[in-house]
């Protein structure tokens, strides 16, 4: 297999992961796609340095997350706390879990950039604390405490807007 064919295979294998991290971070499909494309472009240029399939996955998660954080900072999208967006339920008394999930998706997109990254890596990518710490170059203790604060914040906001305890 030629390197380009390998690369295209990698794009297809990981496109959902990369796009999803960007989309859950930015909540903007066109921006998420553009960012995801740039990540893969960077991957193409860095292929020689990557040693294994696992390395590629770790690299993609780290680079995508860091690019998302940089995007927020460059756009002066200062960490946005307190943005309450809850879609009006189309069916009164509709499934509370569905409402909660939808609310949470939007609340996550309003977290400070670092908190957003932690929550997305933990819940979208199911990464452990140590893995997240390595990906974001942060001490594991910091990951744990910031994640805890982020979750407390989400819990409080979701409760206030939905009027229920989570």
């Amino acid at each position: 297999m030629t390197p380009v064919a390998d690369f295209e295979g990698m794009v297809r294998e990981h496109q959902s992961m990369v796009f999803s991290i960007a989309y859950h971070f930015l909540h903007d499909r066109p921006a998420a796609e553009e960012l995801a494309q740039d990540v893969f472009l960077q991957l193409f240029k860095s292929m020689g340095a990557l040693e294994s399939a696992e390395h590629v996955t770790r690299w993609l998660r780290r680079v995508t997350t860091n690019r998302c954080i940089d995007h927020c900072r460059r756009s002066r999208l200062m960490p946005r706390i307190g943005l309450d967006q809850v879609p009006e339920p189309s069916i009164p008394g509709g499934a509370p879990d569905l409402m909660l999930s939808r609310a949470l998706g939007q609340l996550v997109a309003s977290l400070p950039a670092n908190w957003r990254a932690l929550v997305i890596l933990k819940y979208q990518e199911e990464m452990e604390t140590e893995e997240i710490a390595r990906a974001l170059d942060m001490p594991a203790g910091t990951v744990k405490s910031q994640l805890s604060r982020a979750l407390d914040f989400l819990r409080e906001k979701a409760s206030r807007v939905l009027g229920e305890t989570v």
Partner: protein, 118 residues
């Protein structure tokens, strides 16, 4: 596993990339490769031309034209970046506005439907 954990996993489930995403990435990679090749060719041409005295002026002018072109490209790129930033800020502002309107409506409802004190 708490309700919150489940809800977050559901909310942050992976989404499919847009249709044609891989093709667009490959197209972008292809363009970059062609651009890189062109730059290499240009560098070689400039170096070779500078070694021949009669071509030095032409090369110098070509260098100036390239610099102006590069500056224009940079200005265009800066303008684009500025426009994207403005767009992001508009979306943020309108999301905040909507969110606060929502909060206000929820507060009004809580008061309207609160049990009356006897």
């Amino acid at each position: 596993m708490s309700q919150m954990d489940d809800a977050l996993r559901e909310a942050l489930r992976r989404e499919a990339a847009p249709e044609g995403f891989a093709e667009r990435v490959m197209a972008k990679v292809g363009r970059e490769e062609r651009q890189a090749t062109k730059s290499d060719d240009l560098s070689h041409w400039l170096l070779a031309a500078f070694r021949r005295p009669q071509l030095r002026w032409a090369t110098a002018l070509a260098g100036v034209a390239l610099a102006i072109g590069t500056m224009e490209y940079r200005n265009e790129a800066e303008k684009r970046a500025e426009g994207e930033r403005a767009k992001d800020q508009v979306m943020l502002a309108l999301r905040i506005t909507g969110g606060k309107l929502r909060l206000t409506q929820a507060a009004v409802r809580r008061i309207q439907y609160a049990p009356r004190e006897q």
